[in-house]
Amino acid sequence: MLDNLTQRLARAMKTIRGEARLTEANIADALREVRMALLEADVALPVVREFIAQVKEKALGEEVVGSLTPGQALVGVVQRELTALMGGAAAGLELAVAPPAVILMAGLQGSGKTTTTGKLAKHLKGELRKKPLVVSCDVYRPAAIEQLKTVAAQAGVDFFPSTAGEKPVDIARRALEHARTHYHDVLLVDTAGRLGIDEPMMKEIAELEAALAPAETLFVVDAMQGQDAVNVAKAFGAALPLTGVILTKLDGDARGGAALSVRHVTGKPIKFAGVGEKLDGLEAFHPERMAARILGMGDILSLVEEARKGVDEAEAKRLAEKVRKGKGFDLEDFKGQIQQMKKMGGFASLVDKLPAQFAQAAAQSPQALDDRALARVEGIINSMTRAERARPELIKASRKRRIATGAGVPVQEVNRLLNQFAEMQKMMKQMQKGGLQKMMRAMKHLLPGGPR
């Protein structure tokens, strides 16, 4: 598995410890590591080149302050520049036009346009309290119109019927007219997937754009896309006045370098991230997290965000604070975490958010990810008294037996839980010392029933 960039840079820059400034000579090796890390993350080569040049320029002469090593100082520069390149704060939809505001979807085959149309419609109707209408101009893919119809029903939004025998631009005009006369404030137009080099198809979507004058023309990109992202983005950017990008399938474990490539080529903000097949799998895009993900630093922030969603916010904050401080975290809190985990859809959905290194480790112990194991742990904690939960060191042999009987598990399982908990506490102390890497190593052993 890939090393964390921080680690790699530390290795590359060992030789230059103690130098007070970043110089051309002392960062050459480290920059090569950055280049490799970005390429492994699928950032397109021309973009990598430009980025490295930029980092070099910014880094040279930078003072290595305080206790930082030159490696750490360079990581700082890299992350800062990457975040800046990824764009500012999350941008929403710009629909401030005379209604109906049109949103046109565009992208390669299978990138997620139809699903994302459904997600946006749901978002518009729910959070933004709009009255959206969706229509499919995909007259090519078998059952594409049927797919959008089903998705619209799932989103609870109005669907404008079309047929495969019509011309896309005719469908679009009729839908726009219908939206106007039926007081829909937003019209979402799904289109067929197309290749950037398919001239008739690119011409077709340019015509759609001209007929609809959309408020938003969104380019839908698969987060797993590789080096070709630059070529595709160039082609779509040339054919259409894009207003934004949506990055889909971020719930996978791709590092997502295409985000950087597309952003760099189009210059347009990435507005949303697709994080699931279901219609609620749409999130605001966070440049700084994406930067960390591309660099292989994991998506810790998303984890925190997830913890916040649908879960008692104050409780999450209290836990986060405890985790941060690494003290006062007791079995009661542990149980609280398990409950929250359940609310978040169990382990599987959580693992999606973890750094690649950890997700990998987790995947290697499948039994560890069994939600039933979680339920057993919860059962054990439930059989403890309040005092025992607060001070696990109280739990000696006879208490262990009582707890085991109460939870209907063998005593060994109680032992295991207590050991795991002790490790977890230790880990939290490490985390407090800032060792993300150490924490991830420690966490491997923490999953209930996981390897020891």
Binding site: E146, D228, A363
Partner: protein, 311 residues
């Protein structure tokens, strides 16, 4: 024995996909083609070759491996012109890919059960539609199983493909993919059908419960016929970057893959990641997808693929 690949090679058709692939690559102003002017063999040339391989998604390791071999060869064979170096690289690439060339022979069992899996939107359903047509073209009867019971209109999509080649599709309105596929195998046996192809819902390997579901589908298929599935194909999108490696690994671990299908090679993506796959986890590449039409499926041929990639 029934030789599948040989039969399929219709030179006119072969030339046409090759031409399309080449045309696709050319339209991007293919970096690979651009570097082979009449340059002398020097460091700059190697650097540019490295660039070109990386830009095709070959990945750092496979690129390094190929260039090391190329360097050795340039010295050994005293290659002098860029043209010679180009030919040598194409040859090295073809050698790396050659082990992935494997005949797809569905006549060893009846019914021959094919399970198709892959990440979301890779081209599974479309490839099944094309494969069914291809098999039919080789005189085999086919039955399709609509094992994607999750995605909106997935069943209707497969049914439309079946209708195009007048092939029956077994589907249920209910939600259990394993049951649908089990039924299809039973039906195929009763009817004496040659091949059953089972579609499954797209899934990302991070969705561990869905990977478990796939394993369950495989187990249920084995209940219908202990020797089945006879082929387990992973569909990969040629646009995919290095994550394709993780996909091969995860699906192989869950299912034991017998082959790959690499789709969307008619675009500008070069599918170079297959070189990385050949190097780290060589699962045979059964077919390549070169378009959205029903005939846009071809058996993989390493040498032609390498040539098209470097053209």
């Amino acid at each position: 024995m029934f030789s599948f690949r040989k039969k399929s090679v219709d030179p006119a058709q072969e030339a046409s996909w090759f031409a399309r692939l080449r045309q696709g690559l050319r339209k991007t102003g293919s970096q690979l083609a651009a570097v082979f002017g009449d340059v002398r063999v020097d460091e700059a040339l190697f650097e540019e070759l490295e660039t070109a391989l990386i830009a095709s998604d070959a990945g750092l390791d496979a690129t390094r491996h190929l260039l090391e071999r190329l360097r050795a060869r340039v010295v050994r064979d005293r290659l002098e012109t860029a043209q010679e170096v180009k030919a040598a690289l194409a040859d090295e690439l073809a050698r790396l890919l050659a082990p992935l060339e494997r005949e797809f022979d569905p006549t060893v069992r009846k019914p021959f059960v094919v399970m198709v899996a892959g990440v979301n939107g890779a081209g599974k359903t479309t490839s099944i539609g094309k494969l069914a047509q291809w098999l039919q073209g080789h005189g085999l009867s086919v039955l399709l199983a609509a094992g994607d019971t999750f995605r909106a209109a997935a069943r209707e999509q497969l049914a439309a493909w079946g209708a195009r080649s007048r092939i029956d599709v077994v589907a249920q309105s209910g939600g259990d993919p394993a049951a649908v596929i089990y039924d299809a195998i039973a039906a195929a046996r009763a009817r004496g059908t040659d091949v059953v192809i089972a579609d499954t819902a797209g899934r990302l390997p991070t969705q561990l419960h869905l990977m478990e579901e796939l394993k369950k589908i495989r187990r249920v298929i084995a209940k219908a016929d202990p020797t089945a599935p006879h082929a387990v194909l992973l569909v990969l999108d040629a646009n995919t970057g290095q994550n394709a490696l993780a996909q091969v690994k995860a699906f192989d671990e869950a299912l034991g893959l017998t082959g790959l299908v690499l789709t969307k090679l008619d675009g500008t993506a070069k599918g170079g990641v297959i070189a990385a796959i050949a190097q780290t986890r060589p699962v045979p590449l059964a077919f390549i997808g070169v378009g959205e039409g029903i005939d846009d499926l071809q058996p993989f041929a390493a040498r032609e693929f390498a040539a098209a990639l470097l053209d």
